[in-house]
Symmetry: T
Subunit: 160 residues, 12 copies
């Protein structure tokens, strides 16, 4: 059932729709693993990272909503059901149970870096098909790169 | 690694921990399918139900956070990772793709009713082991029963 | 016409529904007589009690709404029509016309005490049938007992 | 006991006091039946009308307070006790139990129209005795006519 | 220097200008004596009346500003200089030094009653010349009559 | 299609509807030319007048909404379409292109004066047919006269 | 009179200025027809669409302001006078008088689709001449496409 | 009637009380002449100075309240009655009627300079008797000197 | 002097009163030692724990107020005087002088654990005598257990 | 352990530290007895004084925090532990149990007067050693003297 | 020490890092000279331009923060130390001492024009290396061009 | 050009002006190096110190504004241009590039201590010439000493 017409061509919609759907999965996954870490972190930086993770979650949730509604606006039904996220989400994530603060910071840096690499590919892919979607992906990248820097800077002294 | 000591006995912690973990999965699942419906609903009641679903999602997210932190407070590591939700979430959910508004209302009534039935069992189970957790489960039930009524009342006229 | 299904058994619904309906009448009645006193009070404590009465009214209105929606959530149609309140409301109330401030305080103490006694019976009655409703009645009692204390403390010096 | 002197003549006070007292009853009655409908409405427009009714209730409560305090300001004791409303309120109201959404809209149109017709008579009656009270009645009429239009517009398509 | 043209006739401007100028003096005077009482009141109702007086002052200041700008809008230069208020203000006022709370209440009732009587004359006088100004005077009267009632109700029990 | 019944007689509705429709056009026109001046003004008073114009626009938009909804409330369909405004709007307006600040102030004084003169006629015309509408027109006039004064006072020194 | 110098070349300014001026007309037109529909809509979805239209109007007004000020910033005098809109606005619009809710939704979908198509051409045209303006047009397109989707989703069930 | 005891010696109270009483008169007078200028100013800087004067008035009113309550706190009854201000206020003030903007700025500079000179004397006088009052006078001086600078800077270009 | 009557039986009041009085002492004590640690903490986690302690203090103060007013509402005079707290407070507390951050975290975990153990006994004790008080004690326990978890999680890595 | 260096000389630190420590005890003590009175007051002025006491408590708490952090900033460890307050607090305080409103007012006047006398000595003592601390003590004195006046004014009529 | 890894290639990082560093210097410099002008401006437009300059400063500060954090996010250490700004800032700036209002406006136009020209070059330079940074530079340019227009429009009438 | 007259003598103005100008440089410098550290900090306390530095920057910016406007108010033109800060700022500052968290804390302690020592000299110097300026310098010292303590307490454990 194609109920909502698109304002762009079929081929543009194909590329843009794929970019948005995989971004949606990454963001919903990030919001879930961000909360998982928020609840299971232990260590002397507990409070500081506990609060920082909630900022990642808030950003991920808000962008997920914008991305899904952007897909709908282009006539592409977004899919954010539990089973879809579970099978399609491939970013690094914290393991089960309590997690030490330095490990949380480490896994967040890795997960955000992987998400950013995938976003930069989609920015390139959507340049011609839909500059409106590209602009949204650019905004998400800016935010995730800022979050990545803050975790990375936090982890510098670990080895010293 | 049992890093956070519990303030209740081991057996009480077992029962309470199970109740909280399964409630966490139900709430995270509800928040995901609520958003899925929020994005994919079509039909003359689009705007009205689209907004109502966001209230369900907001409640589910907030209660999920409280429930997970309650588990942690009792020394039980909460698990809200994508794969956990996907495998443990069993409530009725909207199918893939666009969904007609009356179908959305119908599935929300069913999903909330199933969640409520499970919560009422946990309220009974936690009465002795931990009245503090029981009180939290009572609050969640009150909110979900209110949401269920509003969807149910909305759907009455469907048959008429 | 039983349009909204209940999430509890028929017998539990009967007891809980009665408790909620009579609480609804008491609260709507309190909100009306609280306003009546708010408008008709005279005496040197006019401003102080005039403002305090509006807090009683605000609490009564907010709880009345929650109580009525709780009834609806259980599949029980709440009844707050003028004629219902007039015939079912039995708490002490201010007489017609202007009322002296000390008399207002006195009648509010009596009216709240009567309401509290009735609520305590309903708390006991709903313990088994529906702990969710019981929890709501407990919250209402806590608020009304606080209000009663403040009027009672205000009236102590009357005799001295 | 005439405890508060009036700033207008006895005859003016008589006419104005009657106009305010009957307006008070209409507004308190509207606030009660608005809530009754708010709780008992069922049908596909449930959420939309449920929210709209709360705006009617909020307006009715706020104006009732202003009207009663206006009466007091003129030395007329306002009467908003349950039994007074029950015996003096004559506007159309929803019947007992659950009410279909289209019926709710219909009865609100009728009730508001009746209230407006009565207000327009009082606007005329108070023109000479007290332009200050007349100005208040004009404000109330403006608000109720706006509410009436919105329910009426909502009901147009019922027959089509 | 008549620098701002009027939108009404010369004769209408004369009557309306006089009504506004004398209202301005009454309101500025009320704001000054309200503060005087606010600072000098003593007695067991100190806090209650101290706060109530600030509401009179706030109303008087806000209406004074509206009245003066209304005069300017009609091309009439408003005069609120200290010497003008001192010579033109004729309402009852608290005497020098500390004032007992019951005396404060008494003088506020008298002063507001005098202000109201003068406003009612101006409402009549401006009916034809400028209904826009009349509407403003009606609003001021409504507020001052409400304030008068509250002080009057506060003073009822003084003799009992 | 007369879909919304009126609460006033046909003849009253005719007069009142005409007054509201022409006021609507004046206000929508004012909001458009206010913005036009807001964007095109140049000169040393740029910032000061640029900000003042936005207050005119905000008032005009808000009153336009109230006026149109008042018409609808009386069963009169309001007409604010571009072509209607273009053909019916007759107040003085800024010319095309950049406009010097003193010229902007001048044209605003003229345009507001013309709007006020037309409103005063409608206040008189609606006195008997509908005092509720008359009261709204009085409020609009008060605001526009205040705006006119502020532009007029601003322009006084131009000649000196 | 070219009073404000441009920061881009003459040819770039020509293209960008044209894009901004025609976008301004579309947005001002949308804000007017959005309000027209807001006031004249009738039918069972009255309240829901009535509120949604105000969100379109708010977006259109805010973007119109940004677009006009962007033109001015480039030394191009923006033209938003009534006669300019009337003659240059070509998007589908609601007809005169009351409009059924489903027709309102239909015309909004069509009008937004036409506006979007025109915006996408301007995004392409301004890519080289002025990426700053292009970025603004991209933001407007994102918002209008979101609005279009919501109306389109609302209208799906019309045929079923 | 000396009803409120002082926390400082009689001689200290005498000096401090005089300083506070004369500061009170200066501030109340400034608030009145600030408003007088706010209403009567004309000229191309109307809006800019009209707004700035309201900041002077707001400061003067707030400090007047603090100063009067400080006097009361020291057992000195403050006197802010109209006749007291009229006879004791000696600062330069705008003349009757409309006042040109440059003249308003000029008189404000002079009036604030005179007020500051008097405050600096009182700062010295209260140094020993009451450092708490001195601290308050220092705060007032800081604010009035800031206001004076802004008017003075505004007037520099008058001669050029 | 038993000035405020109780709404529960004498024996119930005895048990409940004792539970509330000892809870009051624990909470006031916690608020004081929380501030003591807030001011005296030193070490690399200074800022993080300094802020967290203020959240403990805020919770303790707010619950202390509710607990004391609950006692008063039951006719039991609450006792929170300095000497009462000093003699009755028995929870672990920081020693005099500056305290290292890890020691602060350690003592807060111990002190909160002791407070929780005592609260859980009171929850059991008040179950029959007064479910309203029990509900309040449950809320306090939930909050203190959450605070305890956050300090405990923060301290995990100390040994590693 | 002297962990935080001071920015002033040792002797200055000794005097200033003593002044701050004893002020801290007075303020924490005032906050505790203020709450004690807030909960235990009875009599016709219950509500008025109950609210006023909370303002004293809020001021005392906020200043206690500033005073303790000022001590820490000077390298002096502040001591606000329960046993310290109990042994060092010497101001008049309400007796155990319910207290009549006039007695509450009386004891607050006495307690504040004693606190003020001690503060004035410390203002003198810190003049040379640390004008920054002196400035803080001056602010506290201003606030407490204002509070004292309000209680004193409230109690005037007690004897009459 | 390269402590934060980059998410883009070395060559891209070189170009983007240079663009961000020089933009940072321009914005910090603008914030300093904007404040310098804010404090030193004299003339009849003092208040109007004084306020406008604070908006430039607020924008410059906020964008400087975003630009510096963007550099850090790309692994480039931003340099905003006083000596760096002093040596690298090359935009036109106000001279030492008091500055006439028209001169302030003139220098702000020039300084903003120079900053814009430099930004437009960087927008082009970063197009390929990093579209995320380019998007940020576009936003800054939009804001500075708007500010430039407002100063330029303000200065038009200087020559006339 | 001495355009703004002073309210104090020439010699007093000389001393006070110097004190204000050097304080301005210190505060502007602190705001720049605070931001520099905010952006370049790395290590496990990144987030905690990153946030704390922004509080220093906010304080420094706000006080810098007050100090500069105080200078202007005394007729002294403040100088905050980049080159002035670069040449006159002498407080310790972070070196170029990324900086470890413990080094950031260390340099902030040193820099604030140096600033405080200089402020204490100026407090003494301005005592006679201008107590109003002295009061401002006292407020700044209080804030910087509080900031210094928090960094110093944070760094205590570094050696342990």
């Amino acid at each position: 059932m194609t109920v909502v017409k698109s304002t762009i061509s079929d081929s543009a919609r194909q590329i843009t729709g794929d970019a948005l759907q995989s971004t949606l999965v990454d963001l919903l996954g990030l919001s879930l693993i961000g909360k998982q870490a928020h609840w299971n972190i232990v260590g002397p930086r507990f409070r500081s990272i506990h609060l920082q993770l909630d900022e990642v979650v808030a950003s991920a949730r808000e962008f997920a909503d914008t991305v899904a509604e952007r897909a709908a606006a282009l006539g592409v039904s977004p899919d954010g059901r539990p089973e879809t996220i579970a099978s399609a989400f491939t970013l690094p994530a914290p393991k089960e149970g309590w997690v030490r603060d330095s490990d949380v910071v480490g896994v967040m840096v890795e997960s955000l870096e992987a998400a950013i690499a995938r976003l930069r590919e989609r920015i390139e892919a959507t340049d011609k098909p839909d500059p409106v979607t590209q602009d949204l992906l650019i905004s998400i990248t800016a935010e995730l790169e800022k979050q990545r820097w803050m975790f990375a800077a936090e982890n510098v002294a670990r080895e010293s």
